[in-house]
Symmetry: C2
Subunit: 291 residues, 2 copies
């Protein structure tokens, strides 16, 4: 998601320096847009979009990407805009660790929703948390990258917490859609009719309308993998655990995604969670046996 | 829901006989519309909309409402249109019991979704199951009572199964909304911002948009009570049990509704399920402590 976001920023005329652990990707980006390869000391905002907290920690504090780590090389008053999905406790700890070594830097915790499609189109939902001056600094960036910008709190960690709330609903709704459609199949109801009915009733959800059709058709392209929700619902469970909140549905859904991945299907589209329900129902995981 | 449905049927010029265990309600109806009080022997279609399978059994087979029970008094070739929400196994058994004593009658299992509002407006979703000639007979009635008519199977029980699939999603989505909004509150995120965000993202559901605002405001009117979902999710669990399907989310949600009712809040609006989450999170059930 980071590269299309970088391209959107560059397209507005901002000078953008792209960094990637994969040198080829960074070079491909550099050929497309105006950048300063040696401009780390002039960075005003460091936008981070990586896989997990370990990667963030590594690029900020170790020599992995930049000698000395980015945190030590940013100029005074620069703003770190951390947009990856991490657990709230990690988001809080990262901000605190940066503040400990570089109290002059701004830090905003700003995860997003909308996926690669939203990153490309500049229509992400952004859940930003940080002190008022830091959020103020980020607004022009957010207006380029996203469509719906929510300032959800005044301290890093609250953006991640909001993202966890969002992912709780997304993950549980995918699992509920799979549970319901697998029950319809097991009851001998035509799955096309069942889906059409629940899509148009009070039973509907964004995920049901989006993933439902892919649940009852043969597996196709992977839009978002089972593995992503193993991670994201894992973060939800961690978030619930650290804020000591009761989240039984999120835990059930997480275990279903994890079991599906452990069964070797982690790279399938997340709609294929229905295969696990079908197996547990004693049915053909491909959904055979129905017209 | 039965009375507004009867009124919609009467309004089209059909002769409608209203029966109710509460004599006053039946009489109030009779004053409004053209009926034949003594017309049981001329009934073409008996539409049943009551609370549970016991009531259906009682009115069909006992003297409770009509001496001899309605099943024995209907004319040859009449159609029983059972629209109450019951477990699939009950729907199947009722049809079989009618067929055993009156093989000449038609029987359609046709539960609805849309509530009192849909019953009044004639915009119910109807999930009809029965043999083709019986469904054919019911179509003119369904066109008056409903907006979306789905023929979901050829045997009684499949309508009830489809309704269970629908209610699984509705009940789990209410619980997921409560779980997510209570987590947001526990994380110190402004609940208005949290709700606005998830309503507009891939996290949204029909229930989140409908019940969410009522979850974060002081309890108001009761649109649909906690008790209703205790019953409906109980039926979902029964349906899953009899078709031997795996439904962990429905079971979790059911237990939350039951625990809320057992705590003395069964007659509150179902949005108030969030009170149970708040209590389990160690928060004020009223949602106090936030601006």
């Amino acid at each position: 998601m980071g590269w299309p976001m970088a391209e959107n920023l560059a397209r507005t005329g901002l000078e953008v320096l792209g960094l990637d652990a994969l040198t080829e990707r960074a070079e491909a980006f550099h050929r497309q847009v105006s950048t300063r390869n040696d401009g780390i000391e002039n960075i005003e905002a460091l936008v981070i979009m990586v896989v997990n907290a370990e990667q963030i920690r590594s690029l900020l504090f170790s020599d992995a990407l930049v000698v000395g780590g980015l945190a030590s090389r940013l100029p005074t008053d620069a703003c770190i805009v951390q947009m990856s999905t991490v657990a709230p406790a990690d988001a809080e700890a990262l901000a605190a660790d940066v503040a400990a070594v570089r109290p002059d830097l701004h830090y905003v915790d700003a995860p997003v929703s909308g996926g690669v499609v939203g990153a490309q189109a500049g229509t992400l939902s952004i859940m930003a948390a940080g002190d008022a001056p830091s959020l103020e600094r980020c607004r022009p960036l957010f207006d380029i990258l996203g469509q719906a910008i929510f300032e959800v709190g005044d301290r890093p960690g609250q953006g991640a917490a909001m993202k966890a709330v969002n992912q709780l609903l997304c993950g549980v709704h995918i699992a509920a859609a799979a549970e319901a459609l697998a029950l319809a199949e097991k009851s001998g109801i035509d799955r096309q009719i069942a889906l059409r009915l629940v899509q148009g009733s009070a039973a509907s959800s964004w995920m049901l309308r989006d993933r439902g059709p892919r649940m009852i058709e043969p597996p196709g392209d992977v839009t978002s993998a089972i593995d992503i929700f193993c991670k994201d619902l894992g973060i939800v469970c961690d978030a619930a655990s650290s804020s000591r909140a009761y989240t039984p549905l999120a835990h059930s859904a997480h275990q279903l995604f994890v079991a599906t991945a452990e069964g070797g299907e982690g790279r399938l589209d997340d709609s294929q969670l229905i295969r696990t329900y079908r197996r547990l129902n004693g049915c053909d995981p491909e959904g055979g046996g129905q017209a």
